[in-house]
């Protein structure tokens, strides 16, 4: 099974709009997915510039997919889709 790569943006906009909630993301992963998911904290992914002015942070990437206004439930939903659950 392929690894699902989660990138949590640590850029200023994401930080101000609540990225630190994801420090608990690992605790929320279902047991069936825990070994398949790899969580990374990254420097600014630059997505705030791409979606500039729309105030969509925090951004999280699940593989190639961007989750805007990310929250733990929305990231988990995206992980499940990617895992084919």
């Amino acid at each position: 099974m392929e690894t699902i790569r989660i990138r949590i943006c640590l850029g200023t906009a994401c930080h101000v709009l609540g990225a630190s909630q994801f420090q608990h993301l690992a605790d929320h992963l279902p047991a069936s997915l825990r070994d398949r998911v790899q969580i990374e904290w990254t420097r600014c992914l630059g997505l705030c510039r791409e979606y500039s002015g729309q105030d969509q942070p925090p951004y999280v990437m699940v593989n190639d997919q961007v989750v805007t206004r990310a929250s733990i439930p929305s990231v988990l939903a995206c992980i499940r889709t990617q895992a084919g659950d």
Binding site: T12, A13, H15, V16, C44, G53
Partner: protein, 485 residues
């Protein structure tokens, strides 16, 4: 509540949008669109409907412009009108309280705190009923019902029920207030008694509806930055771990916002510790039994308003903010002095202090970065001073840090016992009341209104745990790389 939630997010989003419009020079033209942009028709409403969301966003904008929601005279006054007045420097009435209540945001949480739930078995014993001193419990459709008009909130029914069918529903703002300043009006909506309020900001943090806000000073600061006068940023020691970057980068980022000079209040904190240690020795020599710290403004206000007998025991040493402002004023007369911190009560303190012009919170600082498009991590790392005194002052924002810094200043053989009151609550206030009668088991008490210290302040951006980790790292790193003499 957890640190990151939607109420906090909305508050910060409003600040970002206002700062951005200001920086783009379009504040007056576009501010009235903010409520619409934040609550578009196609997004699911968080309250009853998008229109309520928009109405609330308008009040949040008012607070972010520096106006209290209570200052509204005509509901039809557009935000652009408030913005114009804010740009003219108008809301700078030195309001006694930095807090404002958004009455329409308050959900009027039920006043009766005890509820009989579906778990009620309609038992024969009915011990809830027999234990109730107010005859507030009736039985209807096979279950207990508590009459909120009669209930006295004694909680005996809760203890009596063997099925745990009765629950206590707390009112978060009331529960959070350590001094009983939060009350309800006849409609059940929140009211803050400003004669009791100590501006600790715990109600801001705890209200799940974001119904209490602080009136922002972001706009006057942006105005000052655009003016001829030099603007000095005085950074509270709690700033160190607020962003996930090395502290030196944060200093550069703050300069890039347009502050002409950035100074650390840790410097003033060191001076506070030095003077406080001297004052303590003096007082003990004069026969006084004990002294308490005075750097936490919410605590000092609590003493003034609720435990006046303790006032003689509170240190007279000025706060780190004041001492830093004094130095800035000496070196740069005419500069605009802005304190940056995690604290609402500091705003109240600054409004009484002629040496401090404005206070902005870390949340507002973050909003300014986002609005200005400054990526803190991409800023160059400024050199940090490794001055030993500064290093000691950097420890102030963590509970116990003041005591540690004061101890360092006392002679090694000084016979001095200390105590930490970490967080103001009913219990610690009662303890202080007992000590105010002149009896205290220790010589020095450090009091912090926020549990954990300033790092846990109501307007901090980072969780206290992470912020402390970064602060510890900085203090260790700067110590080892530049050994102090």
């Amino acid at each position: 509540m957890t640190h990151d939630n939607n109420a906090v997010r909305i508050k910060r989003e409003v600040l970002i949008r206002i700062a951005r419009l200001f920086l783009q020079g379009r504040l007056l033209e576009e501010i009235d669109r903010i409520p619409l942009a934040m609550h578009p028709r196609d997004r699911q409403p968080t309250r009853c409907c998008i229109y309520k969301g928009r109405a609330l966003a308008k009040y949040r904008c008012m607070a972010s412009l520096g106006f209290a929601a209570e200052q509204e005279e005509d509901e039809l006054t557009p935000l652009s009108d408030y913005a114009r007045r804010a740009l003219d420097g108008q809301p700078r009435v030195k309001a006694p309280s930095p807090l404002t209540v958004l009455e329409t945001a308050c959900s009027a949480c039920v006043s009766s705190r005890y509820f009989a739930t579906d778990a009620c078995r309609n038992c024969t014993a009915r011990s809830c009923h027999t234990s109730c001193p107010a005859d507030a419990i009736a039985f209807d459709q096979g279950r207990a019902v508590i009459d909120p008009e009669k209930c006295r909130n004694c909680g005996r029914c809760l203890q009596a029920c063997p099925f745990h069918a009765i629950i206590r529903v707390p009112i978060p703002c009331e529960e959070a207030c350590p001094v009983g300043a939060v009350m309800k009006d006849q409609h059940g909506r929140v009211k803050i008694d400003m004669h009791k309020c100590i501006s600790c900001g715990k109600c801001i943090q705890e209200c799940p509806f974001g119904a209490v806000m602080e009136t922002s000073e972001m706009l006057p600061v942006l105005n000052a930055i655009g003016s001829e006068r030099p603007v000095v940023a005085m950074l509270a020691p709690a700033v160190v771990g607020q962003f996930p970057v090395p502290f030196g980068k944060l200093i550069t980022a703050i300069r890039r916002l347009g502050f002409d000079q950035v100074v650390e209040v840790a410097d003033g904190a060191h001076e506070t510790a030095r003077r406080e240690a001297a004052e303590l020795q003096e007082r003990l020599a004069e026969g006084q039994l004990f002294m308490t710290s005075s750097c936490c403004p919410a605590y000092v206000d609590a003493v003034r308003k609720h435990i006046p007998d303790l006032l003689p025991y509170v240190s007279h040493t000025p706060t780190p903010m004041h001492l830093t402002a004094e130095q800035v004023t000496r070196e740069q007369p005419g500069a605009v002095r802005v304190f940056l911190g995690p604290c609402v009560a500091k705003r109240a303190e600054a409004r009484q202090d002629p040496l401090v012009d404005h206070v902005i919170t870390f949340e507002e600082l973050g909003a300014l970065f986002v609005a200005a498009g400054i990526e803190v991590d991409e800023c160059e790392e400024a050199d940090l001073s490794a001055d030993a005194g500064l290093q000691a002052g950097r420890g102030f924002p963590v509970s116990g840090g003041v005591t540690a810094a004061v101890r360092q200043q006392l002679p090694a053989d000084a016979d001095c016992t200390t105590m930490l009151l970490d967080g103001l609550n009913k219990k610690s206030l009662n303890l202080l009341k007992v000590y105010s009668r002149g009896k205290c088991p220790v010589n020095f008490i450090e009091v912090m209104a926020c549990e954990g210290g300033c790092l846990a302040g109501p307007c901090a951006l980072e969780t206290p745990g992470r912020a402390q980790k970064r602060l510890d790292e900085l203090r260790a790193r700067v110590c080892t790389s530049h050994p102090s003499p």
